[in-house]
């Protein structure tokens, strides 16, 4: 059971590390648009101008 004296403070440290990571993600704008990327992934076909769709 003695290991708990190490593990519990360690888990606290871990919580703060994860908190910091999330804070960084938030700060860099990762959560600003929660809907757009879900749609955008379906649409990146990058069609070349002039090429007729339907052609292989």
């Amino acid at each position: 059971m003695d290991i708990l004296y190490l593990l519990i403070p360690l888990s606290l440290v871990l919580v703060f590390v994860i908190g910091a990571v999330f804070w960084w993600a938030l700060k860099s704008g990762m959560f600003d648009d929660l809907e757009g990327p879900a749609y955008r992934i379906l649409q990146d076909e990058n069609e070349v101008p002039g090429r007729k769709p339907g052609a292989p």
Binding site: S11, V15, G36
Partner: protein, 832 residues
Amino acid sequence: MTVTTTCYHCGLPVGADGVYRALVDGESHPVCCPGCQAVAEAIGANGLSSYYRTRTAFAPRGPERPADQAAALVIYDRPEVQAAFVQRIGENERETMLILEGITCAACVWLNEQHLSRLPGMLSVDINYATRRARVRWDASRIELSQILWQVETIGYRAWPATSAAVERARKRETRAALWRLFVAGFGMMQVMMYALPGYLAQDGTMTDDIQVLMRLASLVLTVPVVLFSAAPFFRGAWRDLRRRRLGMDVPVALGIAVAFAASVIATFTRAGEVYYDSVTMFVFFLLCARYLEMRARQHAAARIEYLDKALPLGAHRLLEFGRRMDAEEVPAIALKPGDFVLVRAGETFPADGRIVQGDTEADESLLTGESTPMRKGQGDTVVGAALNCSSPVVVRVEHVGEDTRVSSIRRMVEAASMQRPGIAAAADRVAGWLVGTVLLVAAVAALVWWHVDPSRAIAVAVAVLVVSCPCALSLATPAAMTVAVGLLARRGVVVVKAHAIEALADATHVVFDKTGTLTEGQPGVVAVHPRPGIEIDDALALAAALERTSEHPIGMALVEAAAGATAIEAVDVRNQPGAGVEAYVDGIRHRLGTCAFVTEIAGLLPPAPAPENGATRVWLGREGAWLAASDLIDRLRPDAVATVRRLREEGRRVLIWSGDAGDAVAAVARRLDVDGYAAALLPEHKLARMVALQRDGAVVAMVGDGVNDAPVLAQAQLSIAMGSGAVVSQANADVVLLSGRLTGLLDAFALAARTRRVVYENLAWAAAYNLAALPLAAAGLVSPWLAGLGMGASSLLVVLNALRIAFPRSRSPLRSSRRRTTEIVPAPTRA
């Protein structure tokens, strides 16, 4: 069901003749107008046709007069105009936020992004789907802002710079702060729960005191940020309520958190008594979830209100030395002062209130008056800012600018009116206040009683009462359902601006339409032609169209439209006489089209003809010495007006028309739609009086309005609905905006509101039953704080899950069927 052809691009019905067709990817598709044709072909030519395959809603109608607008946008390139909204990065790099109008689905976002990012000199384009805003960065040495704005218009959308960058930044800060609070509370909750669990599972004596203290200290470390940071809004809210001497939802919440936390801290350090860290963090997390969802919905709605920004134009042509020279100088509209002379060209918007000093024209003041027919304006007449100059250039002496203009004063009036609306929301607040008071009282009494029975449990019982009967599920019940409903409707082009709208929609007993622009298209159409014996109708129309070919007057455009398909006749030397008609030479003979008097001057006595029916407007056509035909025009009904009114009446609502227009026209529309009642020639104050009288009899009135003159009455109605194509000011203040401009959106809104209200009632019934059962149990000491927290959490979760059910209707509803509309279009047989 009859098969109607709809425009490939915008989904509006195509005229029976189907003259416009767009060639996309080698296939010909029917479109409704040259604007849509140009847009569809531009999209195809740029290799962006995948837009048509992936979109989930139709696009807005294409631009009407492209050439004028490109020139008008140049004002945005001026440094002093850009100063307000463009950020300079380095020497040539510029960045700004654009508001995109016309975005209806994700494919629109993709289309705009692809199109803009291919422009030379464009550095980055970043479009936010939720807020319809684009952050663009460009190289000012290679491309101008006006070109970017114009490129957006060529594909059928509209962009203008978001001048309120500060508001934008504040909104972003709010979102990020809310997410951060939510995360801190959620992560704190999970971790604290892990520290708390052994305490619940351990048998007596199996966990040493040291370990228990360590666990409690760890929980304390994690709970401190949750209480001090995440729960701060609740403490601030409670403090604000207390200072105003009233009881809000935040008071028991803040009190519960504070008492439980304080008791836990004392227990931790004295090593005696219970700790409630897990209850506290869980409680805060669930409450923040609800707040976050509510905030998201609110921000979606607020993004729409910036439509107001474009009511007054940004630039003006100031005449420096009017009277001697006509040299115009481009200036920002904010730089105008009373006494300045400005030149307003045809098709432009008046930048300020003023008086015409030179020229004759017609002004479309529908934004302010709701009157769709342009008003004749001559020298000495006043014009109002935000009105559209329809026919010819005029010089205006500026009298009022900016906040002093009429459009601004009307906006302020509406703001004031909307503050004192009859509130169903206010009633809900009062009930909640009583409930909170009861909870506080019960908690205090329970604590007092237990202090005498068993002092060691007094705090636990008080906390349990506060937490378990916190009206959390009750306060979540409504917003959770509303958020789901608002999101669903937004995807159907129905924007709910104010939260109470859904409730009012479900309760509405009367639906009142303002005729202009809501039930009708606001554009006249030809309904009857009475030619002189011996002349074919088609020939008469072709001749009329020839005279009006270059006209931008609604009547002229209607005649041209009616003659589409007939052999084109050429008219030369076309001369427009405002207020009377148009004159031109066909085959060397003078022809006139217009009012009776105007045509009589050359054609001689006009023959007797049947009086125009249904309040139609009659125009005459004649040539030197002989009259040729009379055409009747009438403001046409929207294609879905009849079906919508019938459906509303089937659902047991009374449908009324209150119009400011003349009696005949209104009576005709009322007859064709079979409404329950109508009134014509009403002034705004008459409408207001009628509204108040109806409401006194207990009616819940939904007003569908358009022009700004309706704004006071819209504000008085329990529910105000504005059509997306209507005046911008009424949109900004309406409870609901139909962006699609389709009346069937109303049916969607009513159907969804009824379903939402049922779910809200279920939620409220559940929350009330839960609180009624839990309160006595907690007061009796049978519920420990952790169980209270769990019960509260479970009841909230149940309420949210029930709310999500709104998105999945059991039966096939109008909402469902409209979702599949894009695939249901049946191409009309092509005419040979």
